[in-house]
Symmetry: C2
Subunit: 472 residues, 2 copies
Amino acid sequence: MSKQIRLNALDMNCMGACPGLWLHPKDETGGYTTLPYWMNVARILERGLFDSLFIADIFGVYDVYQGSADSAIRLAVEFPVCDPFLLVPALATVTENLCFGITGVLSYEPPFSFARRVSTLDHLTGGRFAWNIVTGYLNSAAKAFGKPTQMAHDDRYKMADEFMEVVYKLWEGSWEDDAVVRDKEKGIFAHPEKIHKIKHAGKHFEVEAYHLCEPSPQRTPVLFQAGASTAGRSFAARHAECVFITGLTTKMTAGIVSDIRAKASSHGRDPAGVIIYTAMTVIVAPTDEEAQAKLEEYKRYVSIEGTLTLYGGYSGIDFSGYDLDTQVDYVESDAIQTFVECFSILDPDRTWTLRQIAEFLGIGGFAPIIVGSPQTIATELERWMTETDIDGFNLVYAVSPADLKDFVDTVVPELQGRGVYRTTYPPGTFREKLYGEGKRHLPEDHPAARYRHRSQTLSRSQTNVNTHESTP
Amino acid sequence: MSKQIRLNALDMNCMGACPGLWLHPKDETGGYTTLPYWMNVARILERGLFDSLFIADIFGVYDVYQGSADSAIRLAVEFPVCDPFLLVPALATVTENLCFGITGVLSYEPPFSFARRVSTLDHLTGGRFAWNIVTGYLNSAAKAFGKPTQMAHDDRYKMADEFMEVVYKLWEGSWEDDAVVRDKEKGIFAHPEKIHKIKHAGKHFEVEAYHLCEPSPQRTPVLFQAGASTAGRSFAARHAECVFITGLTTKMTAGIVSDIRAKASSHGRDPAGVIIYTAMTVIVAPTDEEAQAKLEEYKRYVSIEGTLTLYGGYSGIDFSGYDLDTQVDYVESDAIQTFVECFSILDPDRTWTLRQIAEFLGIGGFAPIIVGSPQTIATELERWMTETDIDGFNLVYAVSPADLKDFVDTVVPELQGRGVYRTTYPPGTFREKLYGEGKRHLPEDHPAARYRHRSQTLSRSQTNVNTHESTP
């Protein structure tokens, strides 16, 4: 294994990541509305030298199961859910190197004020900010914003492309690198001729404005993307620096990874420059037996109804009409058949009941679960790295922060002892930590680069003039 | 004087509040993009037992002077300006009682996600959040959001009324008080029948959704408003709990105060319940002479061009075409004549040149300046309280944080010694600190109360049933 392992922690600004697990005695996610809970999580992750705390988000509620939101409300299935952006400034005060990858749904808010929020966070964190680009997938979210239904999947991605164009113009094109001088002698803050009003008139957005923030350490934040669909992967290949995927097996994961790298390459980007993390649930204890017992104990808290509520929301299938204990190959529905087909990947000869599927998804969702001693876990993580060409893992917890703490205290030292995990943080911004010192800004092969001013682009990279274009 | 003095500090997420003062050697506002600068300011204000750090905001740039934004850019006149909401979580980590009054422009962003941001902040601060409701006044902001021009002034306030209706429904009407039980025994987070989807279909907004946050300590945050126009005052009288005004003299201020209280009364609200702060610039030093010398020294840094840029933006008048040293009664323009008429309040027999006006506005803007020893300042603040019926002051600095620190270190003890300023913080949320223990939520005479559920309203105030209405 040549690459070092990279780690993120997946979280959400709500109670418990796995339906029902907030009932576990060790669960502390009930403190999600308070700063001390989050500050504790951030300190644990920084101690473990994680790349980032990655916070998912939704703007709606899961209301497919039984045709209502009742089960989501009763069982706290990703509901209520608070704004994730607002955690970052507080967590930046108690960390120095941990970065923050925050989900921002771009379907409902104007790009102009969104761009200011992101630049402000990049400033306040000293360049430790990443944006996880999401188009949203819930009809309930669309209705909250006065739209009868969400846009069709592929149209959402077209709109997302235009949204990206606007924010790239604001982040990369509005202020030249040497615009701000803060010259107290001459009384000059910035040179007006080096600050440009962006003028965008597209199908979805119209913006005529200067970006309100002076350039932040990274300008465009590190870009995350998690889409798994064809349109989503193609979008990720164009825009994302870090891609989150989920694969149940190493084979399935390797296929997704090679597809994403090939797509990035076809867009003129360095395929190795796309950093791919796969979701992974790790249940660790001093011995393999104790770890297995821990998993079994966790499973007792899984809410079957909560899990079907969650996956009903994801898939649009109301699972409440199906018998939990009927094998799914007897179920007369194309939709549900499609949903469960992915389980055949795990074991082609096995058929599943809905209850078994819910139990499986209850801990960690579609992320594989690896269970064992720190040594067993380390070996398994190394195997995944070797067999899939991923760059690292997006760690999914069952009980927070206990699982994160156990991982950091036992698996991280084991990985470090094997030489496959760093022992200190690299310096600089998030992008520098990912790509090396001096790489604070998006590279010239990224689509955002074309919105830079020619003078700026030239001074950055005199040797690479062929790729330059002036701002449209 | 029967009332105790209340204090807020006025600030903005940009360089220097007064044009040119960022050039002063003691100015530290150049650190506005960093957390340490703001954490220091917050600690100073909490030491001084201030009600809140109040942060103004704009979404545009001042581009009236010479018909361009060049002077605003060159001289850093409220530009660039970062998002103020994102300072709050960080400042909440280093304070326990200081509250945060943050300007949120409601003209361009959807109420649904805005309501979630505010609830999240009220949660994270433990109920120390206030929203300063602003409709915006810049055409440059409208263009940034794809609108050719801002809405007409009175239409903006009608839209604002509808925006308020939506957020009241979300904050007050979506979750009943006893909806959330977090019952780990029964595995119930909340009772679905006590959480309601709000359905709003109005002229400007359409929202069908549950509020995404469980009730925060204050539900609706403390509501600030700063409008001075007739429509603005009427809006404030209906909605605002705290009103910010600016009056150059005690007589002018007393008139505004009595008008606001009368308007609140005419809307069925307790006129004394509206807390009114007037803007005030305080230049303090150990002796009156030293304070006067300090002011003269500050004045040397005032940028005349920057001040005219700022007030050009406020008023829509391009002052660049006028001779700076011509007395304004010779100027042949209705617009500029109107602008300067307010100065005759200060001295009816005096005429002003534009340069004199800019010099006057340069420190503290339309806020009066009081200059002197801590004793002189305390006497003057007491006089303002007695002669105007205000509740306190919105402190404007010239040099930050030096002026705030001087005020807290010298004027606050003087006021405390006179028994006109508190010596400890009252307990509780911001609203409780303003209105007394137990008053966490808006009172029944506030328009937001009508969106509460009947069951909820009844249980809160059994004796006052006449004012109840069920959720529309």
